[in-house]
């Protein structure tokens, strides 16, 4: 059972990461509803399993849970795509079509002011490019560059070695530069 002060700490922590977590899940899944479910489930699991852990451990733990959930989501999606491969393509298009990843990247602020600025355009291009990265590169880049996790923390969150983190991160930057091209300011 978690006491009230610890609950407040957890609330503050989750509030501090929730927006970035949602954006990561949106980039990872390309779907806002699915992303919200994943973020909520990650919050729940952190509270349930690690709520009593020291607060300084929460960040890598939370992102570890989030990455696992995203991996599971992709796994289920691949299985579903295989199971329904025989289904007429047009009826399953919304569910399983890979389509253009750029179009799949969630865009909550299309009508917002950010989308009308150069920075907004750059952000859109960046999210689209991130959506096209292989999952491991995408996760590594977002955790390292955006969330600011150390190499060791990223390795913990992703369940891999620090060497793998360095390699994936370096590859992610190269791929992003190539994908962004002229869009990058």
């Amino acid at each position: 059972m978690i006491d009230a002060p610890r609950r407040q700490q957890l609330d503050r922590f989750l509030a501090s990461v929730e927006k970035r977590a949602l954006r990561m899940a949106q980039i990872g899944t390309g779907q806002t509803e699915e992303a919200l479910d994943i973020v909520q489930e990650a919050m729940f699991r952190l509270v349930q399993r690690y709520g009593s852990h020291p607060p300084e451990q929460w960040r890598p733990l939370y992102y570890g849970i989030l990455q696992n959930l995203l991996r599971d989501w992709h796994r289920r999606r691949r299985v579903r795509a295989k199971l329904f491969a025989w289904w007429p393509r047009n009826t399953m298009r919304q569910e399983t079509s890979d389509g253009d990843p750029i179009e799949q990247v969630a865009d909550c602020e299309t009508a917002g002011p950010l989308a009308q600025t150069a920075a907004g355009e750059a952000a859109r291009a960046l999210k689209a490019a991130l959506g096209r990265l292989p999952a491991r590169q995408q996760q590594t880049f977002l955790l390292r560059a955006w969330e600011g996790l150390s190499v060791a923390e990223t390795a913990t969150a992703m369940g891999c070695s620090q060497g793998t983190v360095k390699t994936q991160y370096s590859r992610a930057i190269e791929t992003l530069k190539t994908l962004l091209g002229e869009h990058w300011p």
Binding site: M1, I2, R7, L10, D11, L14, A15, E18, K19, R20, L22, R23, T32, L36, V39, Q40, M43, F44, L46, V47, Q48, G51, C108, E109, G112, P113, L114, A119, G120, A122, A123, L126, K127, F141, R144, A145, W146, G148, S170, I173, L176, K177, W184, P185
Partner: protein
């Protein structure tokens, strides 16, 4: 600063701006999700307690029920004494009372009248 660090720095700035500009509906849903996650912890703790207490309560109820059923099915010994309800009925009937008053006469009658011998 190395070019890749500069790139990462710009990306972080853009993504931060993008997250900060999240629309209100999505932000509200995130808040609800957070409160729900924190609330579910309480609910689950409660249900964990229930999970322990419920079987114990059911077992107690079953034992009480078994005792009640066993007692009700046990044959009761025939009662020799008349119950209070029976006494009341006798007292309420005036005819019966007269009968009891003449009980000696009826006993003498039953033994046989002396002139019939």
């Amino acid at each position: 600063m190395k070019p890749e660090d500069r790139f990462a720095e710009s990306a972080k700035r853009l993504l931060d701006q993008d997250a900060a500009a999240m629309d209100k509906a999505a932000a509200a849903r995130l808040r609800r999700a957070r409160l729900s996650a924190l609330g579910r912890e309480t609910t689950d703790a409660g249900s964990r307690l229930l999970r322990w207490r419920l079987p114990a309560a059911l077992a107690t109820a079953a034992a009480v029920l078994a005792i009640v059923v066993a007692l009700s099915l046990r044959p009761s010994p025939p009662s020799l004494a008349t119950g209070p309800v029976e006494d009341l009925e006798l007292l309420a009937e005036s005819d019966s009372l007269e009968f009891y008053e003449d009980l000696d006469f009826y006993a003498w009658l039953a033994e046989g009248r002396p002139d019939e011998g």
